[in-house]
């Protein structure tokens, strides 16, 4: 089945993964800017990273017939440095009109601190002023419920973003209801230990219906499985769910959300 992984960090993966994803039906990947595993020191570090996301990585993906989309921001972890964050925010517009850039992301909260909240709000302001989509990271583990609700409060306080233009990612059973009830897209991340499993994601699709739910692998430099979306497809098929329902989650929903970006172009394989 053709599918899209709407949240995967391919800069940290080898071409073996592209080769595997291409064989498993992946037509496109969407890669938000994220924490590299260490705190970058300067805005030029982010400039180089954005260059990599918007030029080199799409060419790496294209060699395997996979469309590459990307998102730009300073991530929640590095957002604790407000001064650096503001330099990065000022620099983001230099890259926004590059092909494949879908919007601002993955912004969010990490430890739910005042500085993180400030920088999150300033990213939302940037997105609202420039008419951009937003992809949001919700915190890990014990911080997720508190952080998700804080994020929803901040979005409501700003009020300018259309709910259809926002994807709140890494939802789990205790946060998905809040996100869907307020009209946003909700991403389920199939990542070992700290997030969800294919079976639990399938359960959430059954409990809440397939509308506005997406699944992703968030494959990155840590222990993770870039083929997690095919695992979800397999689990849904094992349960006897229809091909139409499965395709709705793994292909139609990502396409519907991404197509709201004025720079979105359909993956070549789907044209």
């Amino acid at each position: 089945m053709d599918y899209i992984d709407p949240h995967i960090h391919m800069v940290s993966r080898t071409t073996d993964d592209y080769a595997t994803l291409a064989r498993m039906g992946c037509v496109a990947v969407s890669e938000p800017a994220f924490w590299a595993g260490y705190d970058r020191g300067t805005v030029d570090g982010f400039r180089d990273y954005f260059e990599q996301l918007t030029s080199f990585e799409p060419s790496r993906a294209a060699a395997y017939g996979i469309e590459h989309y990307t998102w730009l921001c300073i991530n929640a972890k590095e957002a604790e440095n407000v001064a650096l964050s503001r330099e990065v925010l000022a620099m983001i517009p230099e890259f926004l009109d590059r092909p494949g850039v879908l919007g601002i992301g993955e912004i969010g909260l990490n430890k739910n601190t005042p500085n993180e909240a400030t920088v999150f709000a300033e990213h939302v302001d940037l997105a609202a002023r420039l008419g951009e989509l937003v992809l949001i990271h919700t915190p890990h583990l014990e911080d997720k419920l508190q952080g998700t609700r804080m994020i929803l409060d901040l979005l409501a306080a700003d009020g300018r973003l259309a709910v259809e233009d926002v994807l709140v990612d890494h939802v789990e059973e205790h946060t998905v209801g809040y996100v869907l009830d307020q009209g946003y897209w909700a991403g389920m991340t199939l990542y070992p230990n700290s997030k969800c499993t294919p079976a639990r994601a399938a359960d959430m699709v059954e409990r809440f219906g397939p509308e506005r739910l997406l699944v992703n692998s968030a494959g990155d430099w840590g222990p993770s499985k870039p083929t997690a979306v095919p695992d979800f497809i397999f689990e849904m098929r094992r349960r006897g769910q229809t091909e139409a329902t499965i395709r709705h989650v793994v292909l139609d929903n990502p396409l519907d959300f991404f197509s709201r970006s004025r720079r979105f172009k359909l993956p070549e394989r789907l044209r």
């Binding site: 997720k144 219906g209 397939p210 509308e211």
Partner: protein, 92 residues
């Protein structure tokens, strides 16, 4: 949001997943045994309250939300007045 039915009956789910369930229960049991065997293990109730409370949640039926309940048990609390609190902390 409209739920979609599970194509499998409850009995079919257990039939299909029973071996996996057994393996997962054994992993939990082995971990608890490992804790009990280790030095200080006799005080497990004191320092392992969170996981033990989560295990007790497994036995409470009726709302099909054991996962949500356990996740909430493991979560920091949300304060609806956090924005006011941040504003006060910022001012001071």
């Amino acid at each position: 949001m409209s739920a979609i039915p599970s194509p499998l009956t409850a009995e079919k789910i257990l039939d299909r997943e029973g071996t996996t369930l057994r393996a997962q229960l054994l992993d939990i049991a082995a971990l608890l045994d490992r804790i009990e065997r280790a030095a200080g293990g006799e005080n497990a109730e004191a320092f392992a309250q969170l996981p033990l409370s989560a295990i007790r949640e497994l036995l409470i039926p009726g709302d099909a939300d054991r996962v949500g309940r356990i996740l909430r048990l493991y979560s920091r609390s949300y304060d609806p007045a956090w924005q006011e609190r941040f504003a006060e902390e910022g001012a001071s």
